[in-house]
Amino acid sequence: MKGYKLIATILSLLLLLSVSVIAQEEKEMTAEEFQKEMNRLTKEKVELTKQIDELKSQIADLKAKKAALRPVDEAKAELLALVGATDASMERYGKEITDLEGKIRRREGSIEDAELALQNLQNDKISACPKYNDKVFNQLTSMLEAWKAEEASKEVVYTVVKGDCLWKIAKKDEFYGNGFAWPVIYNANRDQIKNPDLIYPKQQFKIPNLTEEEKAKYDKARANYKPAPPTQN
């Protein structure tokens, strides 16, 4: 009987001990660890709260700054007003530039028409816009100059007919309109002309365009020409 009581007491103690150990394991934390964690979290909470207040204040400042900014559309409208344009006219102007550029590239129409169109574009105030200024005053002008130079360098071929001489050919209105310019034809066809006084029907001569310098030179020669007085027999 005594033995049973002792065994029962020991078992009770073991049970109590095991319950307390299980309870400890469930909590997984000592009081010290708990306090440390509480302190850390409390500190973090304070810091985060402070950070939130600062961020809210900064955001409020930024929102005020943003609201005070000048609208971009207003600035753009002012820019357009400077050249007396609207979005639609700017677009139309851009299209006109593209069209003219295409015509010059394709060598479409006459140079004179292209020159006139370019002149109109240049006269428009919209041409002062950086988007178009270089295009209108430099690029298109250069392209047009190149076209003109190309046209100027084109040689016309003339077939000699009976009674022609270099002077007569040079004097023709469709060529130089000035007989004094005959050496240009001679020099361009030296392979065919041995003697400038002797040319033959069906010969084909290249008639190059006169340069500005040549034109001035031969115009001057014509202006200074004084026919020799008639000889007295």
């Binding site: 309870a23 400890q24 509480m38 961020l55 809210k56 955001i59 929102k63 753009k76 050249v83 200024n133």
Partner: protein
């Protein structure tokens, strides 16, 4: 003698029981405290989330302002060029 021995055994058992209970009670963390800790953890987590959200809002605003200013600067530059070109035409 036997009675005294029995009394001693019972007293010893009681002592052990009391010391065990007091040990458990003093060294551990109560459920209420654990609940507080958990609540604090949740609160800190929520605050951290709010901080992140505010930071991204701030970054977004800064970016928008910078873009706006860049556009205004571009238009101002264009305006200056237009004025210079118009002046050139007049001369």
């Amino acid at each position: 003698m036997l009675k005294a021995k029995k009394l001693f055994t019972s007293a010893l058992a009681m002592l052990m029981l009391i010391s065990m209970i007091s040990f458990v009670g003093c060294s551990g963390v109560s459920e209420e405290e654990m609940a507080n800790l958990e609540a604090l953890r949740i609160e800190v987590k929520a605050l951290q989330k709010e901080v992140n959200s505010l930071k991204s809002e701030k970054t977004q605003l800064e970016r928008e302002i910078a873009e706006h200013n860049a556009q205004l600067e571009k238009v101002a530059k264009q305006k200056a060029e237009v004025e210079a070109n118009l002046a050139k035409r007049e001369n």
